[in-house]
């Protein structure tokens, strides 16, 4: 689904991201972890063609993202609030997305129905602008929005942040259920190592803009990730930070 070749992004003089090669297969659920500044958001932005790469390229289904816009027809993303329209109600926002993606009313309603337990009655049917929603409910609106039109590729940056504990658990269930029913490829980043191991098949650990580890998800993955970050802390303490 995604093919990354010799991709790098330089801000000023520092490499923000440098990936020699990365391949994400169709239908894979791909996790991305790393500390702040590791390059997660940069990678997302490069995949979505929001920033130009310094060198190399990203291909989605063999389409170079900066050359053609064909990939946008089956790709959706929710990275941050700039993917919401603050002055719409959630219903209007979903409606707008459905129109842009050529999705019928019936299909839209089916998708929203799927997320009904996740919304807890606080998103749809409420006459409230998105900007007046709580951070958690804004997040829920954005997350549900990416599923409209059943895209083949979904990018989610930190979907668990700002959600309350029961919504986090529910989101994990919904993601896994969706994966069981659909061939969607996911790209999900998270700071929560436990959650991310529960919703992905493969996890890449970014560190200082490079791929540090590339792990299939199994029983030992979580421990390996925790060990890595623990060692990092120890190194930093030794270095006198």
């Amino acid at each position: 689904m995604i093919e990354i070749q010799k991709l790098s992004k330089v801000y000023g003089r520092e490499f923000s991201l440098q990936i020699e090669k990365l391949h994400i297969s169709e239908g894979e659920s791909f996790g991305l972890v790393g500390n702040n500044g590791a390059g997660k958001t940069t990678l997302f932005s490069l995949i979505l063609d929001l920033i130009p790469p310094t060198a190399g390229e990203v291909q989605i289904r063999r389409i170079p993202v900066h050359q053609s816009e064909e990939w946008k027809k089956f790709t959706t993303a929710y990275l941050d609030e700039s993917f919401l329209i603050q002055y719409l109600t959630p219903d209007e926002y979903f409606d707008f997305l459905a129109k842009l993606r050529g999705v019928s009313k019936a299909q839209l309603n089916r998708t929203l129905e799927y997320f009904k337990p996740f919304f807890k009655g606080e998103i749809t049917g409420k006459r409230k602008y998105i900007r007046d929603l709580s951070k958690g409910n804004q997040k829920k609106t954005g997350i549900a929005g990416v599923f409209i039109g059943r895209p083949d590729l979904i990018l989610l940056d930190e979907p668990f942040a700002n959600l309350d504990p029961s919504s986090q658990i529910l989101l994990k269930r919904l993601l896994n259920q969706w994966r069981a029913d659909n061939p969607t490829t996911f790209l999900i980043s998270s700071h929560n190592l436990e959650h991310i191991t529960e919703v992905t098949d493969r996890i890449v650990l970014l560190h200082n803009g490079r791929v540090e580890k590339d792990l299939p998800v199994n029983e030992s993955t979580l421990k390996e990730l925790i060990d890595f970050f623990s060692q990092q802390i120890d190194h930093e303490i030794q270095d006198g930070y």
Binding site: L50, K72, S82, L84, Q86, Y87, F96
Partner: protein, 496 residues
């Protein structure tokens, strides 16, 4: 905790917020430009202060210049009052960051109020007052005679500024202020002397009734403390209540027949009606109609074609210009969403173009009553309506590319109209946008005659409308080329 937070600390914080504003680090050219403009205006105010004495002495030799000046001082005062009303700053917004400091709130409020006297406007008006005093004294006038007069004026201006604290700077106040201003100019032209009594107290003081200064002083302190108390109480009320917004513009079914463009148009209408800043566009349009009535009807600009053309352009183009200059900046807050969807700029721009030209059409219909001022004027308006639709619309879409500052669409006026974020480039584009057609008109008028020039202008407009497809395609590819730059600067959280 001991609080040693004094007025100087407060001023230091304000200063830091000024010099660290992103705008302050704008290009050197822009900074010099604004510095130059400020200097020019200051010089103008000084000139206004020096001028009356010599003018009266040369033109009406026996007349006492101070007495003569007093006859017009009310005009200065009313204008100052209107401007101050419009430019005031909201108290609660500016004070929020200070609330958690270990300083008494009453003290912070007082610092804020007194600190707000250090503004450009008050400075300029005071500059005028004291230049008058210096001019008079240098010409042998008795300093002790003119000092009470100047103090009274200064106090009046201070009273205005206190009164202005009651208002929250908003679209409505702005509209009311501008309308008052026009009404005032109208009255001065048609009924001179009607507002004269407002100047009486100053005349009396100049004639020696110095005790009146005490009255001014009393009013000033009285109104200051009443206002401070009121604001102190309202301050709490404002912090605790959160208004729930009414949901507007929910229907808009009619947009559905335009397909994807319709979805954008629907979104734009909601953007305009639901956000503070674009909502101003409506007031601006209403004001422009009023202003056009003034230009064509008041008699101040009899046969001044420069002003007529200016009014004609803006009458039908006010929305187009004010809205169009911020495309796509209006959508800076969700620009990432737009560019990651499968939509092309072509459809996006077409929707904007349709909306803008719809506004031209509506405003043209609304200006049919201008037939009352003569057919010539109406034809002028019609010709420039076509010009706006066929040329102006592309012009603003093009200039939008150079306006990459993000717009906080729901920020209150107080937040966005600070000197810190006036956009130099935008001013330049706006100037060109107006000057080019005016010069075109004035330049070609001699060659083509009054009728010919109108046909030519309308013709250019119609041609532009017919060339919609190739021009919008070209613009779309231009927008595509600037995509990364838009994304980058729109993602900066601060307006810069």
């Amino acid at each position: 905790m001991a609080t040693s937070f004094g007025f100087r600390d407060y001023l230091r914080l304000r200063w830091l917020s000024f010099v660290r504003a992103p705008r302050f680090h704008a290009k050197l050219v822009a900074r010099i430009f604004f510095g130059f403009i400020f200097l020019l205006i200051a010089l103008e105010f000084i000139g206004f202060g020096i001028f009356p004495y010599y003018f009266v002495r040369e033109t009406f030799p026996p007349e006492d210049p101070l007495v003569a000046l007093n006859r017009y001082v009310y005009i200065y005062l009313v204008i100052a009052f209107i401007i101050m009303l419009m430019m005031n700053v909201s108290v609660s917004g500016a004070l929020k960051p200070f609330l958690l400091l270990p300083v008494r709130r009453r003290k912070i409020l007082r610092y804020f109020l007194i600190g707000s006297w250090l503004n450009v406007l008050l400075f300029l008006i005071s500059l005028w007052i004291w230049t008058v005093v210096i001019t008079f004294v240098l010409n042998g006038y008795d300093f002790w005679k003119i000092l009470p007069w100047a103090i009274a004026l200064q106090l009046t201006v201070m009273i205005f500024s206190v009164v202005s604290w009651f208002t929250e700077r908003s679209g409505v106040i702005y509209f009311i202020g501008m309308s008052l201003f026009i009404l005032l100019m109208f009255l001065i032209k048609r009924y001179p002397g009607w507002l004269r009594p407002l100047g009486k107290p100053y005349e009396a003081i100049a004639e020696g009734q110095i005790w009146l200064v005490a009255v001014f002083l009393l009013i000033f302190f009285g109104i200051y403390f009443l206002t401070e108390n009121y604001l102190y109480r309202r301050f709490y009320a404002q912090l605790s209540t959160k208004k729930r917004e009414k949901i507007r513009a929910t229907g808009l079914r009619w947009t559905e027949r335009f397909g994807i463009s319709g979805a954008f148009i629907q979104n734009d209408i909601r953007l305009i009606l639901r956000n503070k800043r674009p909502r101003m566009l409506i007031f601006q349009a209403a004001f422009m109609i009023l202003y056009a009535v003034f230009i064509f009807g008041s008699g101040w600009y009899e046969n001044q074609y420069f002003m007529y053309v200016f009014a004609a352009i803006f009458l039908t183009g006010v929305f187009l210009i004010n809205y169009g200059s911020f495309i796509p900046a209006w959508e800076s807050e969700h620009f990432n969403l737009l560019v990651s969807q499968s939509i092309d700029f072509r459809k996006y721009l077409e929707a904007k173009w349709l909306l803008m030209n719809f506004s031209v059409l509506v405003l043209t219909v609304l200006s049919v009553p201008f037939l009352f001022f003569g057919e010539d004027i109406f034809y002028l308006i019609l010709a420039f309506a076509l010009f706006n639709a066929g040329v102006g619309s592309y012009w603003v879409l093009w200039s939008g590319i150079f306006n990459k500052m993000p717009v906080k669409i729901n920020a209150s006026m107080q937040e966005f109209r600070s000197a810190q974020n006036t956009n130099f480039k935008l001013i330049m584009w706006g100037l060109l946008r107006v000057l080019v057609p005016i010069l075109l008109y004035v330049g070609l008028k001699k060659m083509l005659g009054t009728g010919g020039i109108l046909w030519a202008i309308a013709g250019i407009g119609v041609m532009g409308i017919l060339l919609k497809n190739p021009i919008l395609n070209a613009l779309a590819s231009l927008y595509n080329r600037h995509k990364y730059a838009f994304v980058e600067s729109f993602s900066k959280s601060e307006e810069s």
